[in-house]
């Protein structure tokens, strides 16, 4: 029998991979020449594929998004029904590892992987990582999710692969300067970007090497999503099983097994919680001993693998539940303890004018970090390159990977919704057009003593030119010059002024973050004094 299931898996995972790569490479390829309709439909397509990622659905629960609940339940029900099919076809990291294995067997011609890597120490590590991850369910321990979630890791990796991004990180140059003003290389600090790039590349390299040794090492020893789904896949209603009557214990089925150790030839058992449904074993078996069958039939014919207990790789129910509750308790307590700390830290940052500006719709740091998983799809989507990746900008290790606005790199135009539209978790609240125009995300500070108008007695006005709200007004300064007069009440913190300010090395006008994003009132417009000419041609 030709292996229809395997073919289906490969076809589906191919489609998913193309869509995920599309979601991250989207803007480079399509932004310049496509029509609005094409862009919008592509947008929806790419958004839906990223919204189907397990951690994204969990994070969406924080934002009260209905698809969060729906998605979480759907994935769990699918897992209960068919085992870890999610890991087989929906997870980009899983697909990537399968691809590495494909390269190894087909190109490097190394068939057999080493004996599955497993030890009690690795299991311990896995439990700890799972506790860290489940802490996110209650509160925002963003960094653990960003570091552990396969989709987030893969998203960042795709960002690094992007040639535009790479150029930018390496040289501070962008190939396509959409904002018009461009990156002000002299004042733009690329060092922190190197840090993120290095972390991403190293993590990805380690996963690749591990995958060359043991195909899905990451999935079985690190991935918290794998841990959760593995728990739900213990007894799938329709799953793979070994017919003990037919099995001759030849071991042929283990040759290309993605689970590495889900097949226990000695006991003629298949561990469904470890099996990632690669279906490779199905047509390898010469005796048709491996089948997909309903759970009822399996129990009739077989003893459950889990009954054999400790030998197996997956966490026992007790281990899983205690780790989960540990994580939830740790998350709750740490969020309660850290709440005041975080507030104080933000207050201090705001007071010192070094608070990073958060992307529009992120409300405040506490809310933002509870929803953002650090996939950096928004960073890729930003047409102005203003959205950047933070290291320690927000203060503290736990807020690493959160995006922030770097106004030396670009400006956050009040008509642009790309990051909001790209965000799959709802960490960036959807704003209406008229809201966005008056949505205050930052505050402005002007330093007249280093402004070119003051120091060189030359005309400039670049900041006033770009100010969309009239918070910067150019007023008379003698000698035919005008000087900016800045009123923070009407500033929305778009950073256009800082971006375009020609003063080096430090800008004469700086925009920094506020503790809480909010809607402000529009500046009232003064009386109209039109230009009136007495003659028909006044020259």
């Amino acid at each position: 029998m030709a292996n229809k299931f395997k073919a289906l898996r490969i076809a589906l995972s191919f489609v998913v991979m193309v869509l995920i790569i599309g979601a991250f490479g989207f803007y480079n390829v399509f932004l310049k020449n496509s029509s609005d309709e094409t862009l919008n439909s592509l947008h929806k397509l790419f958004l839906s594929i990223t919204r189907m990622q397990f951690t994204v659905t969990l994070a969406s629960l924080h934002s009260g998004m209905i698809y969060g609940l729906f998605g979480t339940l759907l994935i769990l029900v699918l897992t209960l029904l068919f085992g870890r099919v999610y890991c087989a076809v929906m997870c980009p990291m899983g697909i990537f590892q399968d691809f590495v294995a494909f390269v190894r067997t087909k190109v490097l011609r190394r068939k057999k992987t080493v004996e599955a890597v497993q030890s009690s120490k690795l299991k311990f590590v896995r439990i700890v990582l799972f506790i860290l991850y489940s802490a996110f369910l209650v509160t925002g321990l963003t960094v653990s999710v960003s570091l552990l979630d396969p989709y987030a890791i893969f998203g960042r990796f795709l960002n690094v692969l992007n040639p535009n991004y790479y150029n930018y990180y390496a040289t501070g140059q962008v190939e396509y300067d959409a904002s018009g003003a461009g990156v002000n290389i002299q004042s733009f600090d690329t060092s922190k970007l190197y840090a993120i790039t290095v972390i991403t590349v190293v993590v990805m390299l380690l996963i690749t090497i591990a995958s060359l040794i043991s195909r899905r090492f990451f999935c079985h020893n690190i991935c918290p999503v794998g841990t959760i789904l593995g728990f739900f896949a213990k007894k799938p209603i329709f799953g793979l099983y070994i017919d003990s009557e037919k099995c001759r214990q030849c071991g042929k089925c283990t040759i290309n097994c993605a689970g590495d150790n889900c097949l226990d030839i000695e006991h003629k058992k298949l561990d469904n919680s470890t099996c990632v449904m690669c279906m490779n074993c199905l047509d390898l078996c010469s005796f048709n001993a491996i089948k997909i069958n309903s759970f009822k039939q399996q129990t009739k014919e077989n003893q459950r693998v889990t009954d054999i207990g400790e030998k197996y790789h997956d966490l026992s129910r007790r281990q899983f539940l205690s780790a989960l509750s540990c994580g939830i308790v740790a998350g709750t307590t740490s969020s309660l303890l850290a709440k005041n700390n975080d507030k104080k830290r933000v207050e201090q940052l705001v007071e010192k004018d070094i608070m990073p500006v958060m992307p529009p719709g992120s409300m405040n740091l506490e809310e933002f970090k509870s929803k953002c998983i650090g996939c950096h799809k928004c960073v890729r989507a930003c047409p102005s390159n203003v959205l950047q990746v933070s290291t320690f900008n927000y203060g503290g290790f736990s807020n690493m990977f959160l995006p922030y606005l770097d106004f030396d790199a670009g400006m956050c135009n009040d008509f642009c919704f790309e990051c909001i539209k790209a965000c799959p978790t709802g960490a960036l609240k959807i704003l209406r057009e008229e809201q966005r125009k008056l949505w205050k995300i930052g505050k402005v500070e002007y330093m007249q003593n280093i402004c070119v108008v003051e120091t060189n007695r030359e005309a400039c006005g670049a900041c006033g030119e770009h100010c969309p709200t009239g918070a910067i007004q150019m007023e008379d300064f003698g000698d035919g010059l005008t000087i900016p007069v800045v009123d923070d009440t009407y500033c929305i913190g778009c950073g256009s002024c800082q971006n375009i300010c020609p003063v080096l090395p430090m800008k004469a006008i700086l925009v920094t973050g506020v503790a809480e994003q909010k809607l402000i009132k529009a500046k009232p417009e003064s009386e109209i004094e039109k230009v009136v000419h007495e003659e028909e041609f006044p020259f």
């Binding site: 400006m411 400039c460 006005g461 030119e465 770009h466 009239g470 005008t482 230009v531 020259f539």
Partner: protein, 300 residues
């Protein structure tokens, strides 16, 4: 005198002679018919454009590559008059093609996101409909380094390569008030063919604006003053900043056209320093008494 020297001398003489003859011919025709500056008012955009173009002597663009450089700096709708009127740009593109040009290219190095600016200004659609080609003004790879010894401050800068590829350059600014430079019109519009605008602001805006004209002087300037932003420029905040003046200016003299534009906005001439600076560089004439102006008032 050897034969070689004789040949050299005669060749040089003939070149100079022909040049001189051209110059004489030009002044003769100028004196006879064509005005230096045409100001048209009180018509529709189309009727004003047709009348003005006829007076300035049409477009000598047969078989040429033509660059039309409007202002597409801002993501604003046409009614807000932050960008050149798309209708006028389309009319120019059509006229240029009608005059037998090889190709018409339109671009601007935008101040805000290029895609949004090109679209919402209505210019991309208008140009494509009229048969012109709209190209990217924001791609760094399209810019080439140029130097000019005559320049006072802007000794070298990166210019869009098409500015040097084209044979005929039509500058189509929109007249606006400007918070920093007081006026933005023909000369200021050339900041849209330069890559690094911060350099201008950092090193004396007015001098750099005047210097930038040295690199490639437009062959024709057509100023859109149909809707004019008289305050909060150059981006503007609402339609309240805009008034309908219903003017169009045509001139080969980039300085004279800016002087007239400044008078339309009733601006203080002393503040617009790039005008005297451009005169000092010999780029044009700011004394309107010496400029032959043709004034046309159409009946609406």
């Amino acid at each position: 005198m050897e034969r070689r020297d004789f040949l050299k001398l005669s060749a040089t003489a003939s070149i100079f002679g022909s040049l001189a003859w051209d110059a004489v011919a030009e002044t003769v025709t100028k004196k006879s018919s064509t005005p230096d500056l045409v100001a048209v008012r009180n018509g529709s955009i189309k009727s004003m454009f047709e009348a003005g173009l006829k007076e300035i002597g049409g477009l000598p663009v047969k078989g040429k590559k033509v660059l039309v450089k409007p202002n597409i700096g801002w993501n604003k709708k046409p009614e807000l008059a932050a960008n050149t009127n798309p209708e006028l740009v389309a009319l120019i593109v059509e006229a240029v093609l009608k005059a037998g040009a090889k190709e018409v290219v339109v671009f601007d190095h935008t101040c805000q996101q290029a895609r949004a600016c090109y679209k919402n200004s209505g210019i991309k659609e208008a140009v494509e409909k009229a048969g012109g080609k709209i190209i990217d003004g924001n791609d760094k790879r399209n810019y080439i380094e140029k130097t000019n010894k005559k320049a006072v401050t802007l000794k070298s800068a990166k210019f869009h390569k098409y500015v040097y590829e084209c044979d005929y350059f039509i500058n189509v600014p929109v007249l606006k008030n400007h918070g920093g430079a007081t006026l933005t019109c023909a000369m200021k519009n050339l900041m849209g063919i330069v890559l690094d605008r911060r350099y201008f602001h950092r090193n004396g805006l007015h001098q750099c604006i005047a210097d930038s004209v040295l690199y490639r002087k437009p062959d024709l300037n057509i100023v859109d003053a149909y809707r004019v932003m008289f305050r909060n420029g150059p981006a503007g905040r609402s339609v309240k900043d805009v008034q309908k003046m219903k003017f169009q200016l045509f001139s080969k003299d980039i300085v004279a056209v800016d002087v007239v534009a400044a008078k339309l906005l009733k601006l203080d001439m002393k503040k617009i320093e790039h005008i005297p600076k451009a005169v000092a560089l010999g780029l044009g004439n700011d004394d309107l008494k010496k400029v032959k102006i043709k004034k046309i008032s159409l009946k609406a």
